[in-house]
Homo-oligomer: 355 residues x 2
Amino acid sequence: MPETPDFSKLTPRDREILRDVILTYILNAEPVSSRSVSKHSQLGLSAATIRNVMADLEEWGYLMQPHTSAGRVPTRAAYHLFIESMMQVRKVPAKERRYVEENLRNADSDQLMGTASHLLSELSRQVGIVVTPLVGETVLKAVDFVSLSGRKVLCVVVSAAGFVDNKLIETEEEIPREELVRISNYLTENFAGQTLREIRDRLLKMMAEERAQMDRMLALAITLAREGLDLNGGQEVLVDGASVLLGQPELADIQRVRRMFDAFADKARLVKMLNRCIQGGGVRVLIGDDSELTSELDFSLVATPYGIGDQTLGTLGVFGPSRMEYERMIPLVHFLGETLSRALAESFSGGSEKK
Amino acid sequence: MPETPDFSKLTPRDREILRDVILTYILNAEPVSSRSVSKHSQLGLSAATIRNVMADLEEWGYLMQPHTSAGRVPTRAAYHLFIESMMQVRKVPAKERRYVEENLRNADSDQLMGTASHLLSELSRQVGIVVTPLVGETVLKAVDFVSLSGRKVLCVVVSAAGFVDNKLIETEEEIPREELVRISNYLTENFAGQTLREIRDRLLKMMAEERAQMDRMLALAITLAREGLDLNGGQEVLVDGASVLLGQPELADIQRVRRMFDAFADKARLVKMLNRCIQGGGVRVLIGDDSELTSELDFSLVATPYGIGDQTLGTLGVFGPSRMEYERMIPLVHFLGETLSRALAESFSGGSEKK
DNA sequence: TGTTAGCACTCGTGTAGTGAGAGTGCTAAC
DNA sequence: GTTAGCACTCTCACTACACGAGTGCTAACA
C-alpha cells in the first residue's frame, strides 16, 4: 500500500520540502531535483538528505518520478495538500483590482460576461471561463412586446439582474399596438419578481382553470407570454484566451491541443464540470481527477459561483495546467466572482428588490 | 526572369499536368512526384516526360520544390490559375443544401449568425467565419423603450433584417410608462426605413434647428433616441471550428497554431481581411499573398458578402490551408451566402420593404 | 522532334551507437 | 540523523550510415 495520503505523518520539514518542490515545479514545469531543493530552501540540508525525504514523500503518494533518475513531480494529492494547508494566498494587487472594477463597471450589460471572461484570462494568463445564467432561472423585471410587420411580435424579457433576451413570435392574428402595450403592462405588473419558470407554471394553471371566463386581453396575454417566456436557451459558456496556453509545455503535443479545443467545443460537458466544481459556494478547485477532461490533460479548474445576493446565477473560473499558481489564481477567481456579482447587483440600482 | 506567370504559354498538356499536381497535393499535402502524376493521369506519359514538363512549370512559377529531390508543390500562382480556369466547380450536394436550409430556417434570429458560422465550419471542415452586420448601417424597423426601475430605461432597436439590439440608458428624470410608449410610437413611425446613422444625423439637426419650439415629448424623444440609437458596437466576428484545422500538417508546429489563434483574436484585422476579400460582390478567394496572416501561414480565405437585396450586411467565408478543396469550398461559400441572405429576407416576411 | 529508359546524384528519414550529463539510491562514515 | 561518495539508470544530443524517393541529365528510340 504505497498510497497513503494521510498527511498527519508529515513532519514540518517534510512539508517544507514538499512545498518547495511544488513551488519550483509550478515555476519551471520541470522535474525538481534534490539538489535544487537543497540549494534554494532555507533548511540548509544536503541533497542526500533531501533525497531521503523525497523518497518518503514519493512513498506517501505526494511525489512521483517520470522515470528513474529524473527529478520529482508533485501528484494531485500534493496539490490538494498544498491548497488546503500549505499555500499562502496572495492578495490580488490593487492595480489589478482597479483594472477589473473599471472594466466591469464600464461594460454594457450584454458585454459584461464577455468582459469578465476576458479579464479572467488576461490576468490569470490561463483560459477564462464564464457560464452565463440560465434565463429560465432568472427573476423577471419587465416584459415588453414590440409590434413588427404583420403578425410578427418581438418579445423582450428583462431579468432583475439586467439580462435582456428576446424572441420573435408569430401570432395567429394581428394585434394592435395599444393592445400589446396593455399586455406588456399587465404581465410586468403581475409577474415581476418571479422566475420565468414559476411564471410559466402559473400561466398554464390559469389557462386550465379559468378557460371559460377569460377576457380577450387576458387570453392573448397568456398566449403571448407562453411563447415569449419560453427562453430555454440563454445559457452560454464563454471561453476566452485558449491560445495563451499554447506556450505551455503541457500542450507541446498537438494531439493534446486538439483534445483541449474539442473539450471547449463541448459546452454541455464544460457546464457540467463547472457546476460540479461549485457545490457549496466559494472558490473550489478541481484538480484533474474526477473529470476525464482535466485528468487526461493534467489540467485543473479553479471556479466560483456568482450571483445576486444568495441567488447563484452562474459560474466563472480559470482553467489551466494543474501546475498553476494557485496562490494567485484562487484569490483572483474569488475577486472576480465578487466583483461580477457586485456589478450585476449595481447594474440595476436596487435591481434585486422585489416590489 | 524565372517568374513569368503568363499562362498563355501553357499547352493543354501542361495545364492537365499542373491540374493533376494541384489536385493530388490538395488531397495528400505532400510534394507530388513525377511518377505519381504519370501513374494517375489519363495522359499515358512516362515519369521522365512529366518531369520535363514539371521542370518547365517550375520555371514559369507554378510549381516549386521544398528541396532538390523532392516532389513539387503548387505555388500561389498555380492556385490562382486553377481557380480561374482549371477548376470544375462541384455542386453542393442536395443533402448538404437541405441541411443548411433546415438549420438556418429553424434558427432564432439571434442565433442565426452563429449557426451560419458553425455550418460553414462543419461542412467545409475548415474554419468558418461570419462577420455580423454593423448595426449602425442597418435599417430601422422599430424602436421600443421599456421602463425599468427608477430612471433606467431599456432601449430596444429592431432592424429591418431582424436583428435586435438593446442598450440600457439612464434618464435625468423618471419618465412615466405611457410617455415612453408615445415616444416609441413616434420614433418608429417617423424613422422606420432609415439607417441608424441617418437617424442620428437627422436628430442632431432637429435639435439644433428647433431648439426653441420643441414640445416636451419631442425633446425627450430626441434625448432618448440619441443615447439609445448609439449602437456603435454590434459588429462581431464569429469564428467557428478552429480546432478542426489542428489535424492539418500545416499546423504541425505549435508556433503556427499559436499565430493562427492570435490572428483570430485580433477581430479588427480579421474584419479588414474579410472586407478586402469581398470588393465587388460574389465569392472571392484570397490566397495568402496580400495579407500577412494568410501568407505567413500558407492559408487562404474564400469569402462572400451577404445581405438583403442589394444591401451588403456582412461577410462570411471559410479559412484554411491554401491547399483547400476550392472546387468544393467556393460553391459552398456561395451557397451559404445566398441561403443566409434569403433567411434574413424571410425572417421578416417582407421585412425589407419600407413603408 | 518528342518520348523514354537508364543512371548518377541529392536529400530527407529512420536506425543504431555513443558519450555526456543529470539525477537517483545505497552504503558507509561522520 | 546527516552527509559524502559512488555506482547505476535514464534521457538527450550528436554522429554515422544505409535506405528510399525523387530528380536531372544523357543517350537512344520512334
